[in-house]
Amino acid sequence: MTGNHVKRRLAEDIFFKGIVCLFAFISLLPLFLILYYITRNGIAVIDWNFLSSLPRPIGEAGGGVFNAIVGTLMLIILSGVISIPCGIAAGIYLSENKAGKLASGIRLSVVVLQGTPSIVIGIIAYIWIVAPLKTFSALSGGIALSIMMLPVIVKTTEETLKLIPYHLKEASLALGVPYYRTILKVILPSGISGILTGILLSVARITGETAPLLFTAFGNQFMNTNIFKPIDSLPYRIFYYAMSPYPEWHSFAWGASFILVVLTLALNLIARGISVKWKTRF
């Protein structure tokens, strides 16, 4: 071992570290650029008036995204009401029944759903709901989004519950607690942080979805809270404002994007907080 050898090794080491840091930095760049542009262009538009007024007809100045915010919240609630119970139940089933026809069926459908392009899910919801009801509706949008949330919730519920030690279940059964109560009162509460995290992440995933809403919720420049009528949403409003030829509407698109990004970011941060803070110590 000569001194030169050691020096070369050290140089290689530094070179390697440098390369890793460089690529890590490059992969962070898009995030910062997106945040930078959206904040720079979007934040100026945001004021109470923007948040609380409806879109105006072409040619009139001003307008806002109130109906889009309400619509997005309604879509989240609708899709959550459908997908959360189904997803948690399927997750419980998977963690309790590792083998079996139904279990492998659910597993397959989770994989397929996760890989299905969101526009296809939109078309399916169109065929199922919009065509028979003969109208675009919040309901059909909620169903399309719930199909997108479902695989995430099923997967995280299953993974969370699988990590819960078997001896907890035995402790409960040995006290004479019936099986279904053991699942509801011991197993689910022990996995609550993982399950909530999964739900929040799946909500974050669908909040920005536009494609499945194009044929379902459609968009609506008026305020609507009827689930059987077309409804507006933030991503749709961004699309609509951005496609227009008017500079003021372009800046509205930035403003709505800003709201959407802040919402998604907040959901992610809350999810992370819950997964750390509420974690069950076994």
């Binding site: 001896h167 035995e170 402790a171 059964l173 040995a174 006290l175 004479g176 009162k185 011991v186 076994f282």
Partner: protein, 252 residues
């Protein structure tokens, strides 16, 4: 017999085709500590899991023969009713992680949805924790999570949880094997105290422990009950050669 708590007659248990317990006959009298000993894999855990019918939860597990708990046929009872009369303590302490110490003690009532007025619950918690010799250590922290306790304290919490249901018999599967010597001797002293009120079936690998705390001992070998009788007698003049070899550490 009035004085018999658990009676096992011609009892066999299997996992699929694998017969683990073969024609066990055993009578456990009231208010004793009965030790179950034998080499690893001989079927001790299987036997006590047959008493509260946890054995049958494993797919493919079957049993034959008779077991009675105070003259009631165990295998004719509803498992969930049976299990409320039979307390179980596991090798590894397993308090419920989402519950406080207080809630852990009354978990048997809470999880079963049995409603009891608060003063009565307070009383059950205090009495059970006193019986398991944990009260003085936790009385000011009843609403902290049970998982913050030390291993030995957690195991005594699990004993309190089982005692709170007023069981006829307690099944203890190597309850001290995951604990340090001090916690172990605390729990051993506890057994001697507890047997005034409850019968205990104690699986142990520790021959000295069986000698210290048990009144009667069963020696199981390859799924057969080789010898069963007063601990003192078995430890001084074992009838069977295999028992003697086990006690002198030739195998196990």
């Amino acid at each position: 017999m009035e004085n018999t708590v658990l009676k096992v007659e011609n009892f066999s248990a299997s996992f699929g085709d694998n017969r683990i317990l073969k024609d066990i006959n055993l009578t456990v009298p009231r208010n004793v500590v009965a030790a179950l000993m034998g080499p690893s894999g001989c079927g001790k855990t299987t036997l006590i899991r047959c008493v509260n019918r946890m054995h049958e939860l494993i797919p493919g597990a079957t049993v034959s023969g008779r077991m009675t708990l105070i003259d009631e046929d165990i295998y004719a009872m509803q498992p969930i009713i049976l299990r409320r009369k039979v307390g179980m303590v596991f090798q590894k302490p397993n308090p419920f992680p989402t519950m406080s110490i207080y809630e852990n003690v009354i978990a048997g009532y809470k999880l079963n949805g049995i409603r009891i007025p608060k003063p009565e619950l307070d009383n059950i918690v205090e009495q059970s924790l006193k019986k398991s010799a944990l009260w003085d250590e936790v009385k000011d922290a009843l609403h902290r999570k049970g998982t913050f306790l030390s291993g030995g304290q957690q195991q005594r919490l699990c004993i309190a949880r089982a005692l709170a249901m007023n069981p006829e018999i307690m099944l203890l599967d190597e309850p001290t094997s995951a604990l340090d010597p001090k916690s172990t001797s605390q729990i051993e002293e506890l057994f001697v105290e507890l047997k005034k009120n409850v019968t205990m079936l104690l699986v142990t690998h520790n021959i000295a422990q069986a000698a210290r705390v048990s009144d009667v001992t069963a020696f199981i070998y390859l799924g057969e009950l080789i010898e069963f009788g007063p601990t003192e007698k078995m430890f001084t003049v074992p009838k069977d050669k295999r028992t003697e070899e086990y006690l002198t550490g030739k195998f196990g």
